[in-house]
């Protein structure tokens, strides 16, 4: 799907955030210079086309009762990547499961972000992942401090004005 200037106007307004009030989209539509009907139609289309991956709120994990989290990285043989990636991705405690390029001195190729209510619970889940996958070469990189967490801000490409 190609995005036109009016789609970008919608995207820009949504990135400013949706207010907690009865009719929050009225103001965003007005700022985007269109009717509420057009605004909502465009949002629905962005969602349907997958440009909006998730329409929802973002939580602070630690304040929402999920105090434990860790990045677990796994060294998975190429022929096992499909099986192990699918297995880990199906676990409700795993939010992200990506293969990534390796780096000198860091041979792990499958990355999983694991969340639970406590750090001890995270450790148990990772041990279960190792057991169920049969992958014994892994490292748990426990989160010690969140130093930055911001919502990305996307801007329309140069030359496309409203």
């Amino acid at each position: 799907m190609t995005l036109d200037a009016r789609d970008w106007a919608v995207i820009e307004q949504l990135q400013d955030g949706i207010a907690v009030e009865r009719r929050p989209f009225d103001y965003l539509a007005q700022c985007a210079g269109m009717t509420l009907e057009e605004f909502l139609t465009r949002v629905l289309r962005l969602k349907r086309e997958g440009i909006i991956r998730r329409m929802g709120v973002r939580l602070r994990h630690t304040k929402a009762g999920m105090a434990g989290n860790a990045l677990a990285v796994w060294r998975v043989p190429e022929e096992d990547v499909e099986r192990v990636g699918t297995l880990f991705a199906a676990m409700p405690e795993v939010s992200h499961c990506y293969t990534r390029a390796t780096y000198e001195g860091f041979p792990y190729n499958l990355y999983t972000m694991v969340h639970a209510s406590t750090q001890a619970q995270v450790g148990r889940i990772i041990r279960r992942m190792a057991h169920e996958s049969g992958i014994s070469e892994f490292v748990t990189l426990k989160t010690l401090r969140e130093l930055k967490k911001s919502t990305p801000r996307y801007r329309r490409p140069h030359g496309e004005s409203a």
């Binding site: 949504l14 991956r53 329409m55 499961c97 990506y98 780096y103 426990k142």
Partner: protein
């Protein structure tokens, strides 16, 4: 958080209604009232449990590239180097983790060249060796994990 808070979050976390009156729709779905949903949502924002009400976009479709990068920083320089990294708008997340390397951050940019430039500039300013770059290859899962409906796994 009580049961009503959890029921509200279980809806608005993944399926915020795209509707003239989204909070009324939420209320209908969970058998509550619009006034109650608005009050609870305001409180969840004030308490810092809700960080942001805005969609998650597919950055590739919007013409962006991203990566996960890491730098190994001596303990006594963590705050200083974190300031250098966090000052960049292109850096969206930055975590101190156990192990080596210890500082892990995500970067978004409008092109691969711009992304490489950011990594190089950070490496130069930080002076802790090269930044390790771990671009994603295949994504098996990217989603939220809070199943407020039934989970209580203390």
């Amino acid at each position: 958080m009580d049961d009503l808070d959890r029921r509200i979050l279980s809806v608005v976390q993944e399926h915020f209604p795209i509707d003239e009156r989204p909070y009324l729709q939420v209320a209908r779905q969970i058998g509550s009232t619009q006034v109650e949903v608005l009050d609870r949502m305001k409180a969840l924002v004030e308490r810092g449990i809700i960080r942001d009400i805005s969609p998650v976009f597919d950055l590739q479709t919007l013409g962006y590239v991203s990566t996960l990068a890491a730098l190994d920083v001596p303990a006594e320089r963590i705050d200083e180097v974190a300031r250098i990294i966090n000052a960049r708008d292109e850096v969206t997340h930055n975590y101190l983790r156990e192990g080596v390397p210890n500082l892990w951050f995500t970067v978004i940019a409008e092109s691969e060249e711009a992304l490489q430039r950011v990594l190089k500039e950070i490496a130069r300013e930080a002076g802790c060796g090269p930044v390790a770059n771990f671009p994603a290859q295949r994504k098996f899962a990217a989603r939220v994990v809070f199943d407020f409906g039934e989970r209580d796994d203390a």
